[in-house]
């Protein structure tokens, strides 16, 4: 885990991303990210967990302005980039995609894919230096220079993910959004990629936003963890603190779902099982988004939306029932 200080590299204030859905003349909105505020310190890894469709990926992409935010503010190193021309910031912020099969252009060679950012930002004037940089990038992620002339379909999933990582590293970024980088991979390959990401962070001082739904991997790599539910951030705490002392009922449920390798402890463990399904983000419940499935829901929960409050130092949660 990287070197930490108190400087915030990324700061998000009340970020919202609504997608319009047109049906006939009526336009309704999917509230994919609804009023999320958080900060990411330089050199740390912020894990982001939540079930499918809760808006983690949308949040990651909105930070990079791959989606235009509906409202709110994104600060990068203190600069507001919500409306700014992104071109200079594309060199600072990169993304690693979930699906290594879809994220590489099938008509380009690996050398061209990794070299594309170099061309876009005109980082090299002569071809030989550019080629050397491509080779060194490939070697950084554990591929050979001979691979540069091949096409993506000739590689396995893990190798393709390495190509995607090499592409993200090409511009020497400071901040990388890892959008479920290992969930499409085999378990044995997952460890390789996660370890590589950690080594790279140690070496180059990257800041990660690590999005995943595999809790054990997030626990392994993250300094702090944010839990999302239905577009809202419901809990945010230091990694160890969150696992030891989950405050929000949703987080407690999530943690109880982690399988334990030892059958004896596994049997004695109580698993919290939620009723019902995740509500539609088109028509979210009033008040607290989790109240429809929460075992502790009260009348207050239906009326007011709980704010994200700091209950212990660095431990935030959004729930009315925390004392």
């Amino acid at each position: 885990m990287g070197n930490q200080n108190n400087e915030n590299l990324i700061e998000i204030k009340n970020l919202k991303k609504y997608f319009p859905v047109k049906s006939g003349f009526k336009t309704s909105y999917v509230k994919a990210v609804d009023d999320v505020s958080l900060y990411i310190k330089k050199g740390e890894t912020l894990g982001l967990v939540g079930e499918s469709g809760c808006g983690k990926t949308t949040l990651g992409r909105t930070i990079l302005r791959l989606h235009e935010p509906s409202s709110g503010q994104i600060l990068y190193n203190g600069t507001d980039i919500t409306k700014a021309n992104m071109h200079p910031f594309r060199r600072k912020m990169q993304i690693i995609f979930q699906d290594p099969y879809a994220s590489l252009d099938p008509r380009m060679t690996v050398g061209d894919i990794v070299g594309e950012p170099l061309d876009i930002h005109k980082m090299f004037q002569n071809n030989k230096d550019r080629q050397e940089k491509i080779y060194s990038l490939l070697e950084t992620v554990g591929l050979n220079r001979e691979h540069a002339n091949r096409f993506p379909h000739e590689f396995s999933g893990g190798q393709r993910q390495r190509i995607g990582i090499a592409r993200a590293l090409a511009v020497d970024p400071e901040f990388i959004v890892c959008d479920e980088p290992v969930s499409a991979l085999d378990v044995s390959i997952q460890a390789q990629i996660v370890n590589m990401l950690e080594d790279l962070q140690e070496e180059k001082g990257f800041t990660y936003l690590f999005i995943a739904h595999d809790l054990s991997i997030v626990k392994h790599i993250s300094d702090r963890i944010g839990v999302m539910y239905l577009g809202h951030l419901v809990e945010l705490a230091e990694s160890r603190e969150l696992y030891k002392n989950p405050m929000h009922p949703y987080t407690q449920t999530l943690l109880s779902a982690i399988p334990i390798a030892d059958p004896k402890t596994s049997r004695s463990k109580k698993r919290i099982i939620l009723e019902g399904d995740i509500p539609s983000p088109l028509n979210p419940p009033s008040g607290c988004p989790f109240r429809t499935r929460c075992p502790y829901a009260t009348e207050q929960c239906a009326k007011e939306r709980p704010e994200l409050k700091e209950y212990e130092a660095g431990h935030f949660a959004a729930c009315h029932n925390i004392k």
């Binding site: 594309r90 990169q94 879809a102 994220s103 252009d105 008509r107 000739e154």
Partner: protein, 336 residues
């Protein structure tokens, strides 16, 4: 390597200790080569080779290109040479396709006419390709209001009766074009072809790209959802780069097929226009103008109509069949 069974129905394999030895260096390299060889183009070529009709069409097209471009150099006559005393001859050894009422050899005129038709076919298809693919990909990529307006323009062009527009345009542009041609070297290599052909190119550039634009837009709408487009955007690629480096190369199959099928339709349109008297100017011949000239004496000299008509039919049929074969080869999903 195929493993032998003990008996025909047995599930046991005959194995020897040699089967379990590690692969040698050369065997490993063979395996590597095997994986490297299955590229998109090789795969398509393999599928195309299996399609007999497409391969025959390809051979016919190649022979026709030779006929049109190399043929005239072997002929003792030129397309505008009037041989005195040989007027109105039937097909014979001296003139294989016969001659017309001015004593011009029909064989060489059909060759030159095919050349003009092929040039027009390929030229128009390229014009359509460039305009249509750029327009379609811009509309598809930008989306929203821009897309809306651009596609409404396409629909307006689509709904205008093209023959009417062509005839009006021909009348309007013919004079200024003629003047431009007479005044000098504005058109360079096109100078030889005459203003009629340039007018046809202009008509194609104005009217016929809309089909291509629609097809490309559809493809782009599908492709722009792909993750690698997001990746390129995250790297800072602008729209120009997205279109030229990612979107168009990824619909290359569709582009080739549509262009290929555009060629026969352009050849047909040219023949049709020349038949109406709007195409190439005399003494230059095109297949359409040859057929149109032949119509005057069709009762006495039916072969004059037969040969150019046959040539048009063969070219169009061959290009269409080859285009269909290409579609099946490049894009197996589109096969019915």
């Amino acid at each position: 390597m195929k493993l032998q069974k003990n008996t025909l129905l047995s599930l046991q394999m005959k194995l020897s200790p040699e089967d379990f030895e590690p692969a040698t260096k050369s065997e490993q390299e063979d395996l590597n080569k095997l994986t490297a060889n299955t590229s998109y183009w090789k795969d398509a070529w393999r599928r195309l080779k299996q399609n007999k009709i497409a391969m025959i069409s390809l051979i016919v097209i190649i022979l026709f290109i030779l006929f049109a471009f190399v043929g005239p150099t072997f002929s003792p006559y030129t397309y505008d040479q009037q041989v005195r005393g040989d007027e109105n001859m039937r097909p014979c050894l001296k003139h294989l396709f016969g001659t017309d009422q001015l004593g011009r050899d029909l064989l060489v005129r059909v060759m030159v006419g095919s050349r003009i038709s092929l040039i027009i076919g390929v030229g128009s298809a390229l014009i359509v390709l460039v305009i249509g693919s750029l327009y379609g990909s811009i509309a598809g990529l930008l989306g929203g209001m821009t897309d809306n307006i651009m596609m409404r323009i396409v629909e307006i062009i689509y709904s205008v009766p093209d023959i009417l527009v062509i005839i009006l345009l021909q009348i309007v542009i013919k004079d200024p074009l003629q003047k431009a041609f007479d005044s000098g070297a504005l058109f360079g290599g096109l100078q030889k072809l005459g203003p009629g052909i340039v007018a046809i190119f202009i008509v194609y550039g104005l009217l016929y790209w809309v089909g291509m634009a629609r097809i490309v837009r559809g493809q782009v709408l599908q492709l722009k959802q792909m993750e690698y487009i997001n990746a390129a955007t995250a790297l800072g690629a602008n729209n120009k780069r997205l279109i030229l480096k990612h979107l168009l190369p990824n619909c290359i199959g569709t582009l080739i097929i549509t262009t290929m099928l555009q060629i026969p339709s352009a050849i047909f349109t040219e023949a049709f226009l020349s038949f109406l008297g709007l195409g190439v100017s005399a003494p230059m011949a095109s297949l359409g103008s040859l057929a149109s000239e032949a119509l005057n004496g069709v009762q006495s000299y039916p072969y004059r109509l037969l040969f150019p008509a046959l040539a048009i039919s063969i070219i169009i049929l061959a290009f269409n069949l080859f285009g269909d074969g290409l579609r099946d080869a490049l894009d197996p999903k589109m096969k019915k």
